[in-house]
Symmetry: C2
Subunit: 285 residues, 2 copies
């Protein structure tokens, strides 16, 4: 199996149409038909059912489509990383979500800069759900993720920091004086619906809560008595006067991890991980 054959097959499997796939690949249709047929012969498996009117994936074809996409992404990532490694001054790309506490990122970058032979670090601000893709496609070398919201599937990772979650309430609210809360108590407040965050696709889940896109909007709304929210502790450094936070005991703790592709060989990534682990040492002496 060759990369070109795989790229051809994936194009056909995605278009389910040889003509359009050929157009996308910028080749003529006959070589494409032949290439897919040859791939099927090599693998000893029928990947597509063709009629002159419709093309459908077989079970084996669906498997190869999934595996093939991963392989093509890995190849593209490898090419990018090799080229990156030839740069005389090494760089690493660190993917962070917009919400990630700015202070701790700055702290990490400062500590890393002090390392001997530190590479330049490019910050890549992105949406939460993009981070894995960026790592897998080689557009980023290392990322900060927050469990249980992000998935670290397919990545190596190291735990940096574990924190509880807190409810953010208007300062005058009756619950604001409590030493702690249970999440059910917060969710159940009818006059203060939970704020809603965008889905990966950009839409919002069903519900009555206000739609927010960032923490500033959120805190504004809460201060106005229009919403409430449960957020990680570190999101509320420098709290406004008119807001109060109360720990929510049964909310799952938020774990910050530093994650990288398992086959990463960049010295800069290894150094960054080491510095990060030292900074937020959770194992302790």
């Amino acid at each position: 199996m060759e990369i070109r054959e795989l790229r051809y097959f994936v194009a056909v499997a995605e278009e389910l149409h040889f003509g359009r796939a050929a157009q996308r690949l910028e080749i003529a249709q006959p070589p494409l038909s032949r290439a897919v047929a040859r791939l099927e012969r090599k693998l000893g498996a029928v990947l597509l059912e063709r009629t002159s009117r419709k093309v459908t994936l077989t079970e084996a074809g669906a498997v190869l489509l999934a595996e093939g996409r991963a392989i093509l992404a890995a190849v593209a990532a490898a090419e990018r990383r090799v080229q990156q490694a030839t740069r005389t001054l090494p760089r690493v790309v660190l993917a962070v979500k917009a919400g990630t506490a700015g202070a701790s990122v700055a702290e990490l970058l400062d500590a890393y800069r002090a390392e001997p032979g530190a590479a330049a670090v490019d910050l890549l601000l992105c949406e939460a759900h993009q981070q894995q893709d960026l790592l897998r496609k080689g557009q980023a070398d290392v990322a900060l993720l927050h469990l249980p919201f992000d998935s670290r599937a397919g990545l190596d990772s190291e735990v940096l920091h574990i924190e509880r979650q807190v409810a953010v309430l208007p300062a005058p609210h009756p619950l604001a004086g409590r030493p702690w809360l249970r999440s059910a108590e917060v969710v159940a407040l009818p006059e203060l619906p939970m704020a809603r965050w965008p889905d990966p696709d950009g839409g919002y889940p069903e519900g009555s809560g206000a739609k927010v896109r960032n923490l500033t909007q959120l805190f504004q709304l809460i201060a106005l008595g229009r919403a409430t929210a449960i957020v990680p502790e570190s999101a509320v450094t420098d709290l406004r006067r008119d807001l109060t936070v109360v720990p929510v005991l049964d909310a799952p703790p938020v774990t910050t991890v530093i994650a990288w592709p398992p086959q990463s060989r960049l010295r800069a990534v290894a150094d960054l991980i080491r510095v990060a682990a030292r900074l937020w040492d959770t194992t302790g002496p």
Copy 2:
């Protein structure tokens, strides 16, 4: 970049010798030299420094070697999985370590067999450190891992079960009557050194403890008063009369997870995961 070129480069990078690499690839040396040179041109990166006496990897070459090995493994896995998917009766390969509690595996397999459309499950007994490789190379489809001993890097996983660890002591031992212990107390017993388990490479770590290879050996030694050990709770169902277990409070809990390659598309794997999650439901109602 094509698979063949990558295979050629990896061979040279591993042998650090064009002649031997060519022999391994069963081609002549000149085409190999040309292929590697062409790959370097395509990537715009020098991968190898060559003298007529020595071949060494550049930084970029080291990166491509690591990425390339992962890609080649992924390609081999894809080929195997596609062929597997063409079988009329689907099969899945479940990799389990020899030490994994036999009862729970049997329970999982029984429950899965009852599913409509259940595939045949092949059990692949293996050493702990092989499991990831087997999954990545496509020789297994799903595995049971034990954290924190095994790494789930590069895999998707679901937590099945969390259990504490217990110290196994000879029944007459003074500590055997205690309701619980700290790991320091167990490790510090001079007359009962901790048993040693083999490393991934088959050797044993330094130490004074007895060398063991399986639980039967271990329990025998403990009963004879020659060793002690800290093991997961489930490892000691059906305990011998002459042994006692005592919970070790500060030993890290052992988490059993079911893990699979992130791009897995096999229905059988999805079903198996669902059944496993239902069986050991940890979230609970």
